[in-house]
Symmetry: C2
Subunit: 422 residues, 2 copies
């Protein structure tokens, strides 16, 4: 078949408020190169769509609809947490992938995800050699956890950071205005299983001594109940109230999560939640203060209404760059955000080898956390502050954001054989 090769794009893992901006970047850049790239097929529900030959034909979407992805949160094509095992452990899945790609003349593989996806993408990039099928695999970085190495930050993070910093500032004003006679301790639980980046971003809400948040709990710092309660009490005595922002991954020295619901996701990670009420219970029982708590959960990672403009622009840029890398013949790479050296924040897209990205988790450096373990340092502020700059408001109709609903038409199947991901 002499037709131009097609591209496959899939969203992987937990979605973000700007992952669709990356999709927009991939699709728009591909459309600008119709001479070399045929169509962009998206996996329905991520990589599962490729395995089950459930492909979405993005060429059926209008230019306007694709552009509207820039301001629509979550995964427009569906996402999943399916992680491919090694070639030795599950050769059938890789062979199926190649079968589907061959049937649809797919030679470009764009995988939009976090650390686990980088690993899958790396494995796929090696298929060209091991299974003799011409395929270029480019990883498009995305994770609110901000834990990918070799990139200044991860698209998706800046917007959660902005949401958490703003929410902390707002809720703190609420508590401050009533603390004389009402709630004295407010606890906001945020995401961040192993790395405390999101909780750290709440620290940007504080401008001067005494400002909230007064305590940040990081997964990187072993939780010590006695020290925690002493600090809460000190804050209430000094400022009249205490705002705590806690990473869901807050754990004791022996690695026990403060609140582990006991269930596990497909990657074997514990499904967390309920940390905030656990902390509130300690405060109530030991100190007797009136408390309130909030758990932002999905609200924080889908809050496109208050996304960071910087984040939206970076998400779009890595999507475009992925296509450019593919056209330049690259394989097993990831477009990364590279921070400029000047005092004023600047950034560009650079190239990172996937082999050095996959399965490496970037934790908060210790010098980003204050010595007492409850706050962020100036170094952390310098790093975090530029990532939340700028507002990129979606358009509204009747008071609500106009998020796009794609047609998501299926590509006709070409294979007789069905494959079910279990």
């Amino acid at each position: 078949m002499a037709a131009k090769p097609n591209a496959f794009y899939a969203q992987s893992g937990g979605v973000t408020s700007v992952i669709n901006a990356s999709a927009c970047g991939v699709i728009e850049a591909a459309r600008e190169h119709r001479d070399r790239i045929g169509k962009v097929f998206a996996g329905r529900n991520g990589i599962i769509g490729a395995l089950e030959e459930d492909l979405i034909d993005t060429s059926r979407e209008s230019k306007t609809a694709i552009r509207a992805l820039m301001e629509t949160p979550s995964g427009a094509f569906g996402s999943c947490r399916h992680k491919l095992k090694s070639l030795e452990d599950n050769r059938a899945e890789y062979e199926r992938l190649i079968e589907v790609f061959r049937a649809h003349n797919i030679q470009y593989f764009f995988y939009n995800g976090g650390g686990d996806s980088a690993d899958t993408c790396l494995k796929v990039s090696q298929l060209s050699e091991s299974l003799g099928y011409p395929l270029q695999a480019i990883h498009v970085p995305k994770t609110i956890d901000n834990d990918l190495p070799l990139t200044d930050n991860c698209p998706g993070f800046g917007s959660v950071a902005k949401y958490v910093a703003i929410s902390t500032r707002e809720a703190a004003l609420d508590v401050a205005s009533m603390c004389a006679t009402s709630t004295k301790v407010f606890i906001l639980e945020v995401m961040g299983r192993h790395a405390g980046w999101i909780a750290a971003a709440a620290g940007l809400a504080a401008e001067q001594e005494g400002d909230a948040p007064h305590i940040i709990l990081f997964p990187e710092i072993a939780f010590d109940q006695k020290k925690f309660l002493a600090r809460v009490q000190r804050c209430v005595k000094r400022y009249g109230y205490c705002v705590v922002v806690a990473s869901e991954g807050t754990q004791t020295a022996d690695g026990t999560f403060l609140s582990d619901a006991g269930t596990r996701d497909a990657f074997g990670h514990a499904q967390l939640g309920g940390l905030a009420p656990a902390l509130a219970g300690m405060v109530k029982d030991e100190l007797g203060y009136k408390y309130h708590w909030a758990v932002a959960d999905y609200l924080q990672r889908s809050a496109r209404h208050i996304a960071s403009k910087t984040d939206v622009e970076q998400a779009y840029a890595v999507g475009r760059a992925a296509v450019e890398y593919a056209l330049a013949g690259k394989n097993a790479v990831m477009p990364a955000i590279v921070r400029g050296k000047g005092k004023r924040y600047s950034w560009r897209v650079g190239e990172a080898p996937l082999a050095k990205v996959a399965n490496v988790e970037k934790m908060m450096p210790r010098n980003f956390i204050t010595r007492d373990g409850f706050g962020i340092t100036e170094a952390a502020r310098d790093y975090l502050a530029p990532l939340i700059v700028g507002e990129a408001y979606p358009s509204y109709r009747a008071g609500l954001p106009r998020y796009v609903r794609l047609k998501n038409e299926s590509v006709p199947r070409r294979l007789k054989k069905r494959f079910r991901v279990t």
Copy 2:
């Protein structure tokens, strides 16, 4: 003393993202009438500030700072939940109020609050007669609960409604994009102790059949676990996922709150929270679906970053009107929002007698709730939709809203006698 009489302004009860817009309205209108109103003194921490002679001199704030209240959430002067008992039961408090007012030549009383505050304001309005001190008391409506009678809606509500509708739409997109292999049930707990207005507003997020929220739980409808779980299961089977928005006041037929932490506030109301995890537990145990839950708590009522423009304008208007009513010699009244009769939404400020406002709770009319008890009707949509229209973004600096910090300088005390509110 021939000096012009001063005004007293206080914020009462739970704060909102637009209560300061009302404060701005009061202060700006009073400043326009310097010939008849001296200074506006604000109670530090609400009515307690009056009782303890802890007054804030708002004349020390610049025009710019007062204007900035328009875009600053929560109570800039502090609020409290202190409710005055009847004159017979606590004559000392009323006598103290008059003592403080007399000492500071205060003859206008502006009380910015909800139902309980309307009751206090009414009692204060009667002091003129019973204790022989010239005083006009005007209530400025405010409550996210939207449960005041005689007003089309309550300033503060429209912004929470907008926040909840947007958050529901955003989180639902998140769940929808991953439900094939991950979370199937998402539960968002929102405020609303006795009236389901806030939860109802989430219903605006849905545009067509199948859209979230799929289930709304109202305090007005007795919770039936069997019916609830059957509906959850039906949604998951039909749509692949189910988004539930639950009022914190959700209760069974015998009036038991689904989650009652057991503590009570100063008005004797139960302090709620933890409903969402309770519902999630039922879903997990009975249906086995993977779930996530969020509790918005203070985030929803302080989210000035996404306030409703209509709400901000109405909050400001009732503040101004209160001053105009006072200057017109009125007493024991409340400026209310009156909805125009046309199809296109319009509103004006009208006058409501406090005697008919105090201690009356406006519940959701039954015809606003679908027959099955799990959704809102077209009548409810028609009522709610205009209240969230328009965005009124605050200004930003470095990615964060620039909320004003007033100087809040104290008025020098004139009384020797101290009074402590216990």
